[in-house]
């Protein structure tokens, strides 16, 4: 472990010489063959906001879940306020004053807020008194921390922001002194995130200790006092936030200097390939997800869609990819495509020359139990070229797959291996190989480098640019602003199901895009 800082440095809210609120020593945890945590040690001072960063799958959630008693560590010990504490289950963690807000909320969807809050913290075997006391207590806490929620609202009927409040209230209700938040801002708008951080600072100033897991370096720099970096199951460094920089953290995260610039020539846009007009999507719960989106992508250019997750980008990709039904108009090469009915599915889209690299490769892009060669034709199995009469041409497909795996540097290049046996980056390469080698007119790409290490990122970016240079139209959706800025020829920003505006990458900056992403149009609030 590389120690960049004296971690016992006192944060603002701490008493001098107090033992650290949390100390982990030599924690290891394996899930079957996957070593999620390797001999991790960490110490967090009382009254600090401590950040943890690391790539997807680095083991952050696992480590925190061990601290919270959700998983049991294979080895190692936990000290709370200097005392060695056994945390065999969450009960013990709660008793030790630890509260955790999970990346995926742990709420009972059809229970009320109040029921969720008291669950597990009931006063006696009967509910009557528990409920009335809890209602009072909850209202007090909610007022104290400005987190108003209706105690009788049913969870599935309130928004994610509200749900998150319930999770925090749950911890506070249990008198948590140590609060762990796992990627709390992924689902929040910038304004909601700001509110959350205000609350967190307030809690810290009361002497509570907070651990914040996030991917966003900006947030780390903004709110934390100290920060730890994890990589591949190991703790690579712990530093004081004031003494580091985003660049340094990024380097620590991936293990080498990060080159975020992409080399590309100026675009040579050709004729319009994709023309979208007034696209609207209403989901199962009758919520309007796309509120009249219009845009155009031309041959030989990359249109990047920026935005906070959950503002309609996924729906846009899904409509264009044939997964979701919609109203409005979409033209490919001047021809209208069906948005409802029998021919609005992925297969029809593919036949029209649209390829789609989905945002979630594991849930959509791949069949994890299928072999690589089967995945290499997944979605195109109907193609006569892949079939001989009634049967699929398995031998031919395997042979072709070998070539593609080589060209896209998929490791190991073994077509028989199941998709789940490849690492995330290699899985993504399989999807890209499949979609790009179809030589589509339009490529839809969602989060192409999510959970992919830096080496693979460079490769994937290059493939996308090569496709553009081959004169294809590309619609790129990413929540990573850097990626959008680096790859796009034009940038459209989505907020709340609408396009807030379009910018050219050279003529804008992250600040302006950030405002658009928060729904502030330049007229009102641009600098």
């Amino acid at each position: 472990m590389k120690d960049l800082a004296d971690t016992s440095g006192q944060p603002p809210g701490a008493a001098p010489n107090a033992p650290p609120a949390i100390e982990l020593r030599g924690i290891s945890k394996a899930f079957g063959p996957v070593q999620a945590n390797k001999d991790i040690s960490l110490s967090v001072a009382k009254g600090a906001i401590h950040g943890i960063i690391g790539e997807n799958g680095a083991g952050k959630s696992t480590l925190m879940s061990i601290l919270y008693g959700f998983y049991k560590a294979d080895r190692g010990e936990i000290l709370i306020n200097g005392q060695v504490t056994q945390i065999p289950d969450s009960q013990a963690a709660i008793a030790a004053g630890i509260g955790m807000v999970f990346q995926h909320f742990k709420l009972v969807e059809n229970f009320t807020v109040l029921e969720n809050v008291v669950l597990g913290a009931e006063e006696g075997a009967l509910l009557r008194t528990t409920m009335s006391n809890a209602r009072k207590h909850l209202t007090e806490i909610a007022e104290e921390y400005e987190m108003n929620v209706d105690p009788d609202a049913v969870i599935e009927e309130i928004g994610v922001g509200q749900q998150q409040r319930v999770e925090i209230l749950k911890s506070l209700y249990r008198n948590a002194e140590i609060l762990i938040l796992d990627e709390p801002t992924g689902v929040l708008t910038p304004a909601e995130a700001d509110h959350l951080f205000r609350i967190l600072r307030g809690l810290r100033d009361e002497g509570k200790t907070i651990i914040l897991i996030t991917h966003k370096l900006r947030e780390i720099m903004d709110v934390t006092d100290t920060v730890s970096v994890m990589r591949r199951g190991e703790m690579t460094a712990t530093v004081k936030t004031a003494e580091t920089s985003p660049e340094e953290l990024a380097e620590l995260m991936v293990g080498r200097k990060v080159l975020l610039r992409v080399n590309k020539r100026p675009a040579q846009p050709g004729p319009t390939v994709l023309k979208v007009e007034n696209l609207r999507v209403v989901d199962e719960d009758k919520v309007e997800r796309l509120k009249g989106v219009s845009l155009e992508v031309r041959a030989g250019e990359i249109l990047g869609i920026a935005g906070v997750a959950g503002n309609g980008q996924s729906e846009l990709l899904n409509v264009l990819g044939g997964i979701t039904r919609a109203t409005g108009s979409v033209q490919i090469n001047g021809q209208e495509i069906d948005l409802t009915g029998k021919h609005s599915d992925g297969r029809s889209r593919r036949k029209r020359g649209i390829s789609h690299v989905p945002e979630d490769r594991q849930r959509a892009g791949l069949i994890m139990d299928f072999a690589a060669w089967e995945n290499m034709v997944f979605g195109y199995q109907w193609d006569p070229a892949l079939n001989t009469g009634w049967l699929m041409d398995n031998a031919g497909i395997k042979a072709e797959t070998e070539g593609k795996m080589e060209r896209f540097d998929v490791r190991p290049p073994n077509p028989q291996l199941a998709a789940k046996s490849f690492s995330g980056g290699n899985q993504q390469k399989i999807v890209l190989a499949r979609e790009i080698e179809r030589n589509p007119d339009l490529l839809l790409v969602g989060q192409p480098t999510r959970g992919v290490d830096i080496g693979a990122i460079e490769f994937i970016h290059q493939q996308i640019i090569d496709l553009r240079d081959a004169g294809k139209a590309i619609l790129l959706v990413s929540v990573e602003l850097d990626e959008i800025m680096g790859l796009s020829d034009r940038i459209a920003v989505m907020f709340d199901g609408q396009i807030m505006g379009e910018r050219l990458p050279d003529e804008t900056n992250e600040g302006e895009l950030g405002l658009l992403m928060a729904g502030v149009t330049s007229g009102e609030g641009a600098r």
């Binding site: 297969r347 029809s348 069949i367 079939n387 199941a418």
Partner: protein, 368 residues
């Protein structure tokens, strides 16, 4: 990454599970005061010791191949079809209606028609549960259970009120015309000069079952539809991404499944009884579940498992006859086999996985 090599998953785990089931069965036999070893010998002798025994073993196996394949096809689409019992019941009705509809001149004409009739009726019985699952999200397990009961009532009504010949007291259909009688294995093997028991019921349907194994294998692993079906079964979200219609997969998979179950009737109704009787399926629909589980949903595995269960059935009948062990013993064994190979799979798998993991770790340690 897989913890275990494939052979361990496909062979070792089921075999160990089976052994456990057998050990408990032996204890049960001991418990009722009989000698398990003698029982086993008797069962083996009775089911494999003569062509007569073989004839019954294969006859039962034929039923189980059809229902096992039926369960497996639906399973690959992650549909838990436990309605094979009802589908086979209705298949019997279809076969009987076809056989009784015309004065068939020769079995070669009657057979394809009966196969179509059985498959059609079986598929029809699977259609509604499938459609409800696809369109209204109804739980396929519960609807197929319900349809088993409704199917039994339908057959009951048909036999008692419609198909019972005048003057007969039996709730059974009339005997099928001679032109529908399928050649038995005795007849078939006689052609190549192999002597085979004349009175055992194994018949041409066994050959059809073997063909069905090959066809199902081709369908699942070699055709586009099979590809889509397996893809849907593994991941619905990915299937939708790829433009595979869940409705189509669910409905077609269930129709094929029901059709296979229905075709079982060619064996027991047309091949053996040559008339339709109540409860002609005799639980084969449920045994299909065990057969498919043991056979890991693969036709070859299903064939082997079906023969195993055919052995249990025939051997069990022999036990009831020659030892004072009630025939229910095979129901117990059957339950144990399903329990161990299906529900308690992890009980066997987890320790075996641990062993493989330990071996791998130590190898890695040695390699480093």
């Amino acid at each position: 990454m897989d913890v275990m090599p494939k052979w361990a998953d496909v062979v070792l785990v089921p075999v160990v599970s089976l052994l456990l089931a057998m050990v408990i069965s032996a204890l049960v036999i001991l418990g009722i005061g009989e000698d398990p070893w003698a029982a086993l010998k008797l069962m083996v002798q009775g089911s494999f010791g003569s062509t007569y025994g073989w004839g019954y073993t294969l006859f039962y196996a034929t039923n189980f191949i059809f229902t096992g394949l039926a369960f497996a096809v639906a399973s690959h689409a992650s549909m838990f079809n436990i309605g094979a019992e009802g589908q086979a019941t209705l298949g019997g009705l279809g076969v009987a209606l076809v056989c009784l509809a015309l004065p068939w001149p020769h079995w070669a004409l009657a057979l394809p028609a009966a196969m179509v009739g059985g498959a059609l009726f079986g598929a029809a019985w699977a259609f509604l549960p499938a459609w409800l699952a696809a369109k209204r999200g109804s739980h396929i397990v519960i609807t197929t259970i319900m349809f088993n009961f409704i199917g039994a009532a339908v057959l009951n009504y048909m036999l008692v009120n419609v198909m019972r010949p005048a003057g007969s007291m039996d709730p059974a259909s009339a005997k099928f015309p001679d032109g529908t009688n399928l050649p038995s294995l005795h007849d078939i093997l006689a052609v190549v000069g192999i002597p085979f028991s004349k009175s055992a019921p194994a018949n041409l349907a066994f050959i059809i079952a073997l063909i069905a194994c090959v066809v199902v294998w081709l369908l699942i692993w070699r055709t586009r539809f099979g590809f889509e079906l397996r893809a849907y079964g593994k991941s619905e979200s990915a299937a939708v991404y790829a433009g595979i219609s869940p409705t189509k997969i669910i409905v077609v998979a269930m129709l094929i499944s029901g059709g296979l179950a229905g075709m079982m009737a060619v064996n027991n109704v047309m091949g053996e009884a040559e008339r339709l009787v109540l409860n002609s399926v005799e639980g084969a629909g449920f045994i299909g579940i065990a057969v498919a589980l043991m056979g890991r949903n693969h036709p070859l595995g299903i064939l082997l498992a079906a023969i195993l269960f055919g052995f249990l059935y025939q051997g069990g009948a022999e036990l009831a006859l020659w030892m004072s062990i009630p025939r229910e013993l095979i129901v117990v064994i059957q339950g144990l086999v399903i329990l161990f190979t299906g529900a308690l799979d992890n009980m066997v798998r987890m320790p075996i996985e641990k062993i493989f993991l330990a071996i791998r770790r130590s190898k890695q340690a040695a390699g480093e």
